[in-house]
């Protein structure tokens, strides 16, 4: 029974979570410098205190319908092997502590449409959180 702290964010009408240990920082949206790139979900790069960080449109990456960025849109800076990337999300709502019992892993479920990055589904009150695996995202 392990406790996991998750950063909860929203894309469209669905709530997602990622392991807090994988999260570096949460930022407000800043102007993105576009890069000529083959991946359409790569929006461009930004400058974070001298470091160049690529930005991913997570909605596009996960195949969700596109939406305009709002005042609540945030950049979730996540980390993998020392590399940092920014995930563009619609809203970062909270930090939750869940026990692993609350999370049903995909191994226990039917395979969904974005199975690669989905690690599990967590139940919270009347909400369902989709637990994403950062490693698979970037």
């Amino acid at each position: 029974m392990k406790n996991v702290q998750m950063v909860i964010f929203r894309l469209s009408d669905s709530y997602f979570g990622v392991d807090i240990m994988k999260v570096r920082e949460i930022m407000a949206l800043v102007p993105i410098t576009p890069l000529p790139t083959s991946a359409p979900y790569l929006l461009g790069v930004i400058n974070v205190r001298g470091k160049v960080v690529p930005v991913v449109d997570l909605r596009m990456k996960l195949g969700l319908p596109c939406q305009e960025a709002t005042d609540d849109s945030r950049l979730l800076l996540v980390e993998k092997d020392g590399k940092v990337a920014g995930l563009l999300v619609d809203e970062v709502s909270e930090v939750l502590t869940l026990s692993s019992d609350d999370i049903e892993t995909t191994a226990q479920m039917e395979v969904g449409s974005y199975s690669e990055s989905v690690e599990g589904i967590a139940k919270l009150d009347d909400r369902l959180l989709i637990f994403l695996n950062v490693e698979k995202l970037i």
Partner: protein
């Protein structure tokens, strides 16, 4: 001289007849009347044995020993008299008495009154009332079949504030419209003063009173109409003024509403700022939580702090949202007020326009009423 006096007394009754008016033949000694032949005078002070007036004309005649002719005022004997007197001398040339004639001095008009008054009164189309007065009371009156003033009888005392006294004081002809409250019916009185032809003193008045029924009523009506119209005009002015006030109040109201809207906008700006701060605080809290998590054991306390910060920012945002809702409500309510005010403004403007129209009509009516009054006056 004795014979003269004797003949004088004998002839007096015959000669008195020749006078058209009342008269009296008399002789006196130095103190009293010794003989009086009275034809119609009926004066108590002018009878045999009556004392002479101290300082009067007869005394003057006897003192100065010469013929004297003079007027005696009405208040001396009771009637206005013209006195003709000569002294009686004895054998020694001393004045022992007087003899003469006293004639009732009646104004020509008064004398003609009995003959002329009736046909004259009937000659007026609506009838008339004729009077002759002395300085205190009515002496003669003549009414007509169509018109009479019962309040004016022979002997009726002249009213101090009446038209006759006015004529006497002014010693000039006077014409006056008399209200119905005085004689019971509206009349026009025309009075002329009568003067003694010898000493030019005023002795009385001659008056014609005409009924003013039709013309008077018309005039009064026109005057009342005019007054009513003027009152209406005054009220209309007040209405117009108050409509103007409403209009200016509306203007002020509109100003106030604008001010409130501006304040509301400022509040919204502040709310935006608060929301901004709340967002940043929340991010701060989240980042703090992240750092706390990475710090492991040591970060647990900090994690609690981070939680509290996030709670705070959530509350701020919630409150800001509530405030924004309230200001929106205020704005929409102000819109309603503004619309209502505009509606009222329009109504009062219409009212003002209607008032102007009414005022114009009233002015027109007022002019007509004035013309009517003019015509009635000249009837």
């Amino acid at each position: 001289m004795q014979d003269l006096i004797k003949n004088f007394c004998e002839l007096s009754s015959f000669l008195a007849n020749t006078y058209e008016t009342e008269c009296g033949y008399f002789t006196t000694d130095r103190e009293k009347y010794t003989f009086v032949y009275d034809q119609g005078l009926n004066l108590a002070a002018l009878t045999e044995g009556a004392p002479l007036i101290k300082g009067g004309l007869l005394e003057k005649c006897m003192k100065e020993g010469r013929e004297v002719v003079g007027t005696v005022a009405r208040n001396v004997y009771g009637k206005r008299l013209k006195l003709y007197a000569r002294p009686i001398f004895d054998e020694n040339g001393q004045v022992v008495g007087s003899y003469g004639v006293a004639v009732h001095k009646l104004h020509r008009v008064a004398r003609a009154f009995e003959d002329l008054a009736k046909p004259l009164a009937e000659a007026f189309p609506e009838g008339a009332m004729l009077t002759v007065s002395d300085l205190e009371k009515i002496a003669y009156r003549q009414s007509s079949s169509k018109f009479d003033i019962p309040g004016l009888q022979v002997g009726t005392l002249l009213k101090e504030d009446g038209i006759a006294k006015e004529c006497i004081r002014a010693q000039k002809p006077v014409m006056k419209d008399i209200d119905a409250s005085v004689y019971g019916v509206a009349t026009r009185g025309i009075l002329v003063p009568l003067f003694d032809p010898d000493d030019k003193m005023i002795v009385g008045t001659f008056g014609i009173y005409l009924p003013r029924t039709l013309a008077f009523s018309l005039q009064e009506l026109a005057s009342k109409l005019n007054t009513s119209i003027q009152e209406i005009a005054a009220v209309m002015e007040e209405v117009a003024a108050s409509a103007g006030e409403i209009s200016s109040n509306e203007g002020q109201l509109s100003e106030r509403v604008k001010e409130v809207v501006e304040i509301s906008a400022e509040i919204n700006e502040v709310l935006d700022f608060i929301k901004n701060v709340a967002d940043q605080t929340k991010m701060l809290g989240l980042n703090a939580a992240i750092e706390a998590a990475r710090a492991g054991e040591y970060g647990r306390g900090f994690g609690v702090v981070a939680d509290e910060i996030r709670k705070l920012s959530d509350q701020s945002k919630e409150t800001a949202d509530r405030i924004r809702k309230l200001t929106r409500e205020i704005e929409s309510k102000l819109q309603v007020v503004n619309q209502a005010a505009e509606g009222t403004l329009k109504q009062s403007q219409e009212q003002a326009a209607a008032t102007e129209e009414v005022t114009a009509s009233v002015m027109e009516m007022s002019r007509m009423a004035e013309q009517l009054a003019e015509v009635a006056k000249n009837l």
